[in-house]
Amino acid sequence: MGVENTGRPDQIHYQKLFMGTILASFTHELRNRLAVVQEVSGLQQDIIAVDRTVRDLSGLVRTLRSVDEHVGNALRLISVLSRFAHRLDTEMSFFRVQEVLEELIELVKRSADEKRVGLETDFDPALPPVSGDPARLQMLVFFLLDESLCSLEQGGSVLVRITEHAPGIMIRIIPRGPRHTGGGSGGRCPRDILLSVAGDIGAEVSTGGVEQETGVLLRRREHIP
C-alpha cells in the first residue's frame, strides 16, 4: 500500500475494495451522526416556532446534550479515520498491533452490525511494537474478518484475540455461533491473494481447530527491513 503503490496487480483490486468498504462505512456512520444532530436541532426549532418561547427547558437541555454526544462521536470517528489514513504515509514502520487492529475494528463495526454479528476483542495491552506495513496488515485482517462475518448466521460473533507467541505476535480470528450451510469461506477476497499479502508482510496464515479459527502469526523483526 504505502505512498507508492507497490501492490502486485492481482492485489490491487482487493486493496481498492478494502479502502472503498472502509470509506463507505465511515461516511455512512458520520452521516448518521450529523443527520441526528440536524433533526434534533430542527425539532427544537419546530417546538420554539409552535410555542413562541422555550417552555420546556429540560427538553432543550436534552437536545443540547444529544447534539454534544453525537458531535463527540463524529469527532472520535474522524480521529480514527485520520490515524487509519496516516498508516499509508510510510510502507514500513514500527507499530503496535493492538492499536492498528482497534482502528480497523472501529471502522468495520458498522458492517458487522448490518449482518447482526457481534465483534469482540481480547487484546493484550502490553504487547511490544513490531516493524512492518500496518496498512497491509489491516487489509489482511479485514478480509479474514470478512470471511468469518460472512460464514456466520445472524446472532453469531467474531472474537479477535492478540497474544505474544514466539517468535512474534499471534492474531486469532475466532468465529462463534451457527454457520451458514453450504460451506465455502464466503469472503470477498480469495485465500491465495490473502496469502500473498501475508507473505509480503512476513506473516503466516493458518486455519483450523474446533472453531475453524484463523491465526495470523506476525514474526517480530529487530529493525525495519
Binding site: T27, V36, E39, D46, V50
Partner: protein
Amino acid sequence: MNRAKVLLVDDEAELAQTLVRRLNIRHYRAKSVYSAPEALEAVSREAQEVMVIDLHLPGMPGNDLARAVRQVDSTVAIIMLSGQGSMQTENWIHDGLIVDFVMKPVEIQELTKKIDRAKNEHDARCVRRDGGRGKHGQA
C-alpha cells in the same frame, strides 16, 4: 387536510423518534419502529398508508423489507431513506417497489412533500384495488 399515516423504519432510534415528532407537529400520524421484523408486525397488525424505510437496516436490507411489506399490503406507498441515490433506487421506483427515495440527512420540507405525494399514490392504489368502489372498499 387528512395527513398521511406514516410508519418510519430506521435502526437509528433517536433519528426516527425525532423525525416522528417533527412530522406529528405538522399533523401527520407518524410512528416509528427500529427493525424489519417490527415493521412487518406493524404492517400485519394495522394498515399503513406511507412507509419511510432506511435502506441499511441491520439483518434485512430496506429493499427486501419493502418487498415483504408489499406482499402483506400492496397499497402501502414506500419511500426509501438512503445515504446516497443510486441506479438501484431508480430501478426500484421504475419497478413499482418504492414510490420515491429521500437522502439522509433529511430536509423536513422535502420529506413532507414526498410523503404527501406518496399518500396520493396510496389512495389511488386503494381505489384501483377496490375497482373504483370508493375509498378503502367502501361503496
